[in-house]
Symmetry: C2
Subunit: 457 residues, 2 copies
């Protein structure tokens, strides 16, 4: 019997996880939208006093600020999700503040959890400049971390109060350092703060959009607009100084989400806390009317395209920093009857444990790719017309491994060359229609098991 157990005594040789430090970007102060104050502090949710765990973000614009969000569709929505959803709904898509803690998700915490999330919102409201609006609440809430544990609410409230403008402890600011502090406070198992910014022009006025997100694990978002929302803990916050009507902001965000955060997977897990929100405060042009799809489709389309491109940037950062990830893999499914079919197959390939362990092993195991694709019911696909190829990111020629249902005599050297790159693609042509979808995923390593086999301790 001894040979049956030979694997038991094997030793595991561990590939080092490559540093992702080069994806952290230092930006000029001028890259950021006007009219926001931000900071990140250590409030005491996490033990280590060097680690930031509370972010405060305030819109200080004289204009009203529009807010839109996409929340997890999980049946067990965390308290901060329920609270933020309610505020957005009561305010008709207006909010001026955001408070975020990492280290504890405040999820499945019962009645007390809701009280805690409300307390965070109310405490942050006190930091905002006075407003003549009729709204009772102004601040949205996000939490990320362990599920089922209560927040150390007193420490958090104290952390928020320390940012009062009259306190010397306040570190709220609008420069790069302030934005970076906020981005750092979002982090859980992330290895670098995810902060990006870009500028765009509509009718001669220059606007800025900037934002941060966090991810790493429990990442397979399928978020929808408020109260209708399915998957990930992914938190994202996008801030712009353009003026956009609440309804059009939500429409643009929902569109962007379907082409960005809803097309990434780290581990196929939908969290109780996933939230991406966008604030638009109009500070770049205080007298401009709000962009709205029904009154100025052209301006709206530019904004929607910019928001989408920016959301894709932020979403990809999460995959790059996926827990234990050593690869960034673009999965492209072509020739599907509908976009939904293509998206479903790309999602299945991107979440397959066997595909992802093969990617980690730099093994061009296209059989697993096909097997995963085939596990999605799709009656119109004829296996004889299906092709698979690996696409290098360095501009060199892609490698067909299955052509019209027949396996190629694969050049394993070349396959290894492609798969040893940090970035590459897998392309599958179904020849059953003209729709396509793109997904971004990472590999599945020992490090993922290590991080998640011992997360709470």
């Amino acid at each position: 019997m001894s040979r049956f157990f030979k694997r038991l005594s094997s030793t595991i040789s561990i590939k080092p996880i490559p540093s992702k430090a080069h994806h952290h970007r230092v930006l000029p102060d001028s890259a950021f939208p006007a009219g926001y104050l931000l900071t990140g502090v250590h409030a005491g949710v996490k033990k280590n006093a060097d680690v930031l765990d509370l972010a405060v973000i305030l819109s200080t614009s004289q204009n009203t600020t529009s807010a839109a969000a996409c929340f997890t569709r999980n049946a067990f929505k965390a308290a901060p999700v329920l609270v933020s959803d309610q505020i957005l709904s009561e305010n008709g898509g207006r909010a001026r503040g955001l408070v975020v803690n990492s280290g504890c998700a405040n999820a499945v915490t019962g009645r007390q959890g809701l009280d805690d999330a409300w307390a965070m919102s109310i405490e942050t409201d006190a930091l905002l400049p006075p407003s003549t609006s009729r709204f009772k609440h102004h601040t949205l809430v996000m939490s990320t971390g362990v599920i089922g544990q209560r927040l150390p609410i007193d420490s958090i409230l104290k952390g928020i109060r320390s940012q009062t403008s009259t306190e010397s402890s306040s570190t709220l600011g609008s420069d790069y350092a302030a934005w970076e502090r906020a981005a750092k406070a979002f982090m859980t198992t992330d290895t670098f703060p995810k902060l990006r910014a870009r500028a765009f022009t509509i009718r001669g006025t220059e606007y800025r959009i900037a934002g941060m997100d966090k991810g790493a694990g429990m990442i397979h978002p399928n978020m929808g607009p408020a109260s209708t929302a399915l998957h990930a803990t992914l938190l994202g916050c996008i801030l712009t100084d353009a003026a956009v009507s609440p309804r059009s902001l939500q429409t643009a965000l929902t569109y962007a989400m379907d082409r960005s955060f809803n097309c990434i997977s780290v581990d196929g897990e939908m969290s109780t806390n996933d939230t991406v929100l966008v604030l638009a405060n109009g500070a770049a042009a205080p007298n401009a009317v709000e962009i709205d799809e029904s009154t100025d489709k052209e301006a709206y389309d530019v904004f929607k395209a910019e928001l989408t491109a920016f959301a894709i940037d932020l979403a990809q950062l999460v995959v790059r920093d996926g827990e234990g990830a050593t690869k960034f893999v673009t999965v492209n499914v072509k020739g599907a009857p509908t976009y939904e079919d293509a998206h479903r197959i790309a999602s299945r390939i991107s979440t397959s444990a066997l595909v992802k362990t093969a990617l980690y092993g730099e093994d061009a195991n296209w059989g697993r790719v096909l097997s995963a694709a085939g596990s999605v019911p799709l009656p119109n696909v004829d296996p004889k017309n299906v092709s698979v190829s690996f696409v290098p990111s360095d501009g060199t020629k892609s490698l067909g491994v299955l052509v019209n249902g027949e396996p190629e005599n694969v050049d394993e050297e070349r396959a290894k060359e492609i798969l040893s790159l940090e970035d590459f693609g897998i392309c599958i042509e179904l020849s059953a229609g003209s729709e396509e979808a793109t997904y971004w995923t990472c590999d599945f390593s020992y490090e993922y098991v290590r991080i998640n086999g011992d997360y709470r301790s």
Copy 2:
């Protein structure tokens, strides 16, 4: 920045995978059904000459032999699946032989793959005793192993021919050793041969049922009857000496599958090759009429219940020997509106990478259990009525961790005690109906990544 990268230099301490040798069972020769000859040989699909890679199973009964099967629902069905499906269909549910190879799945091998599978069937037909039946083909085919590689068909055909009764190399037999050889030839990454037998009585006649299966990885079956079949590579073969009509054999197998193999998951992967088949040769009572649901419901119900219980035994063995598994976990979902809802949630929990890594880490992370459950759309569930508990296998008291939506102050010592057992359960009460479903799953370890990160080499 250095703290963001601290995990990169961490060392991984690896828990040894417990030996599963005690699940291998030696059985008396008398435990097996009459009228079958079996063997397992080394044909050369696998490199190591000590490893069996070809099983031949023949029904030698004078009676006609009924056959039924459930195949993978994968869109890219392997050649042996297509060939077996066609034979069963042409013969109206009759077949007398089975030939199985491990080491190569003969999947996505194009036209040549089909020719190879047919050649295996035809070559094995020649080993069968002459028959007066009008059928052109008698032998079903199964393959398991790497996808997208061609079979070494000449070696396989030579291996089959070596079992001709006039050859001194023939090792076909009906004793325990012969059954064990066949079971060993099914194995891929399995660590022990999976062979079980049981007896049952219908109206005073004693029948026997025995069988073998293999699994380990790519296990999340969702198999259906021929030509309608969705998920796993799982191969199973069940042989009985009862006489059952083809139609009732298929009905009974489909029923049994839904309560056994379709309720297990190792890694959530549906393979191109999954097949479970059953042969019923009537050898125990040559003059008995075939059991049929329409003519003798009582006898049929006994047979169906026995087949189901046996299929559950075989299915659980696959989970016990899941690739890298150190735990055997029973997931019980209660209080669902429908069985399908309960099954869907149990399946989601059983495939969650975060739940499975927590199980490996012996971490009572019930938040992940709930988060996974919540990712399945289920509008009727009120989080305030949901409870979760961990159930030890040693008869001691179970541990409630979430009671009616409120987290308990969990006794972590006791939780650790339960989770350090090899067998335990997770029970989730939805309080949204009266249906329940049970799933069997395993944990997700470094060893899984090792096995699958380097499978082909």
